[in-house]
């Protein structure tokens, strides 16, 4: 009994330490390296939300989706159009964010429905097409009626505001100086934690098991009485809704969105986070998001000074190195950790022969 109690205490101490670390992270980063790094952490949290959403579709239900970023775009535009001078609407975030969540879920069902009978490569190609269709629509819906403002995008999007409290401005609270990005960090962290809890609970539920069953063997799943149509649509809707939420936050943080932000490359990035981190494993997916957002920034911040110290000038563009290292990392992971850096127990079994 004593041992169990002390183990429990250890776990809770661990949680408490992680909690404290997460709480002071933006302040420490801001003080030590500047606000740019707080922005990187915020971006990592946004990508973690996206990756967690995509993980439901790809990791749990096994449906390869290459157009996932479209739902991010839907959420971002829902927020931006309802909270910017573009239409002169300035709805509060507690309407626009949930609305983005719901509209994205609706699009998830809309885009999922025609693909229900497709699998693997075919599904990937169709979803890729859907992702592009959404982007092209956003690019061209400025005529005859200007809805999205086309390639110019939507500017001056409202930041998150709660009463008189704005997340975007510098402010001193309780004697501590908080910058805009630092305040956003806490909002992002809270929502990411919420999404993690939802994911964990879904995974270990009747619905989660049905998703996995479909991934493993669709015909057997149907023979067990699982309505694969509904269960797949549910996966698309849930995955899309998280992207919609992240999209709304993205719009509010950036203050500006345009179709350019929602290219195929972004879909590929999020998918890489899921695959590289460990498909189907929530912790792995978050790790993937943090690594793939953080490492390129680290390279950007180090490559130029290092080259200048060595050669006295910049020989290789950091942007080029970024893609090079990115490709190398993917190849290495596929070679040495095919199930991802932090694989799900199931996947580990799958690849262990």
């Amino acid at each position: 009994m004593g041992r169990i109690a002390s183990r429990k205490a250890l776990v809770w101490t661990g949680f408490a330490l992680v909690g404290v670390a997460l709480a002071v992270l933006p302040l420490a980063l801001g003080a030590a390296f500047g606000q740019a790094w707080v922005r990187v952490v915020n971006l990592a949290l946004l990508y973690a939300m996206l990756a967690l959403g995509l993980n439901i579709v790809v990791g749990f239900a096994g449906l390869l989706d290459l157009g996932y970023i479209a739902f991010y775009a839907v959420g971002a535009y829902t927020y931006a159009l309802l909270a910017s001078p573009h239409f002169g609407l300035h709805l509060p975030f507690w309407i626009t964010l949930p609305l983005g969540f719901l509209v994205a879920a609706g699009f998830g069902v809309l885009l999922g429905a025609p693909t229900l009978k497709l699998r693997g490569d075919y599904l990937a190609i169709v979803t890729l097409g859907f992702g592009e269709i959404i982007r092209i629509f956003l690019n061209n819906l400025n005529a005859p009626v200007n809805i999205t403002n086309g390639p110019q995008g939507v500017n001056l999007v409202d930041p998150l505001k709660l009463g008189g409290f704005s997340f975007s401005t510098r402010e001193t609270l309780l004697g501590v100086d908080f910058s805009g990005p630092q305040k956003y960090y806490y909002a992002l962290l809270a929502l990411t934690l919420g999404i993690i809890v939802v994911n964990l609970r879904l995974q270990d539920s009747r619905i989660g098991r049905a998703w996995e069953a479909i991934r493993e063997d669709e015909i057997a799943a149907r023979a067990m009485g699982i309505n694969t149509r509904n269960v797949k649509l549910l996966a698309f809707a849930m995955g899309a809704s998280f992207a919609g939420l992240a999209g709304g936050l993205f719009a509010s943080i950036q203050g500006f969105i345009s179709p350019e932000s929602f290219s195929l490359l972004e879909s590929v990035m999020v998918l890489s986070m899921v695959v590289l981190g460990g498909m189907g494993n929530i912790a792995g997916v978050i790790l993937g998001a943090v690594l793939l957002t953080g490492l390129p920034e680290l390279i950007r911040f180090t490559v130029v000074p290092v080259q200048q110290a060595l050669f006295g000038r910049v020989v290789v563009d950091p942007e080029a190195i970024r893609m090079l290292l990115f490709g190398l990392a993917l190849i290495l992971v596929m070679l040495f950790r095919p199930a991802g850096l932090w694989p799900a127990k199931l996947r580990k079994r799958e690849f262990s022969g």
Binding site: L202, R206, A210, R222, A223, G225
Partner: protein, 265 residues
């Protein structure tokens, strides 16, 4: 039509030019073990696939438990109380043994996304019930010790038994088994036979396709013989065994006279 569990009436199905089944009618009583036998390609698995909604018949219909079975989709057949296993085992390979059975409870449980996320008392109670029932079924087929292993790590015979446990988890009235003894050795087959009899004792009706003649003859109350998509004989195993058409189907025309007296297997 009371007293019948399943009435298949004039079922026909063709694939392109091949008439897989023509006008096959069978009647299964509740509590029966009914065997469907016949040479390879006779249409047995096609019959299963039609019954469980994987395909739709060209003509004919099924009546199940007093109402027409219009299974447009396998999930509806499962909902109505028909569970099946597959000739080439189709377990959820990377899920644990226990999870495989838990998936079988899906059709008899309700929790949706909200329930799963909020975990109210109703959902928790349902999850507990799923868990307990699945453990009991594993105990029943003798796989309790391996509950946490991925199902693909099980030996062949164990995989077959897990498939049966998973099917039983759907609370079927009729359990349709597609060659449950295929690839089993004599000991495993004997264990399977005891298992199937125990399932029948619990009130589940069994329909089985089987090539193991000894098993069929010993276990089934009645059998139907299919050949080239037609039902050529039906009755108690011992009767069917002596049927001239059946011997011809299995051994070819011309041997009937020579073997009719002494054929025993």
């Amino acid at each position: 039509m009371t007293g019948l569990l399943l009435h298949a009436d004039g079922i026909s199905k063709s694939f392109g030019g091949v008439q897989a089944l023509s006008e096959v009618s069978i009647v299964i009583q509740p509590g029966e073990i009914y065997g469907l036998i016949g040479p390879n390609g006779a249409g047995k698995t096609t019959f299963f696939n039609l019954l469980t909604g994987l395909y739709r018949p060209d003509s004919g219909n099924f009546e199940f438990a007093g109402a027409r079975l219009d299974a447009r989709a396998p999930e509806q057949a499962a909902q109505r109380g028909i569970a099946r296993t597959f000739q080439n085992i189709r377990l959820f390979a990377n899920m644990s043994v226990l999870e495989n059975v838990m998936v079988g409870r899906h059709v008899r449980t309700r929790a949706g996304v909200l329930g799963a996320v909020l975990r109210g008392p109703k959902t928790l109670a349902e999850e507990r019930a799923i868990h307990e029932r699945s453990l009991a079924l594993l105990e029943f087929v003798g796989l309790t010790a391996r509950r946490d292993e991925p199902s693909r790590h099980l030996a062949y015979g164990d995989q077959r038994r897990l498939e049966i446990a998973r099917a039983l988890a759907t609370d079927p009235k009729l359990l349709a088994l597609d060659e449950p003894a295929a690839g089993m050795n004599a000991t495993e087959t004997a264990a399977l036979r005891r298992l199937l009899e125990a399932i029948r004792a619990q009130g589940v009706t069994l329909l089985l396709i089987e090539h193991d003649v000894k098993l069929v003859m010993g276990l089934c109350d009645r059998v139907a013989v299919l050949d080239y998509g037609r039902k050529i004989a039906e009755g108690r195993p011992a009767e069917v065994q002596r049927n001239a058409a059946v011997i011809e189907a299995y051994l070819g025309v011309g041997v009937t006279g020579a073997l009719a007296g002494g054929a025993s297997a």
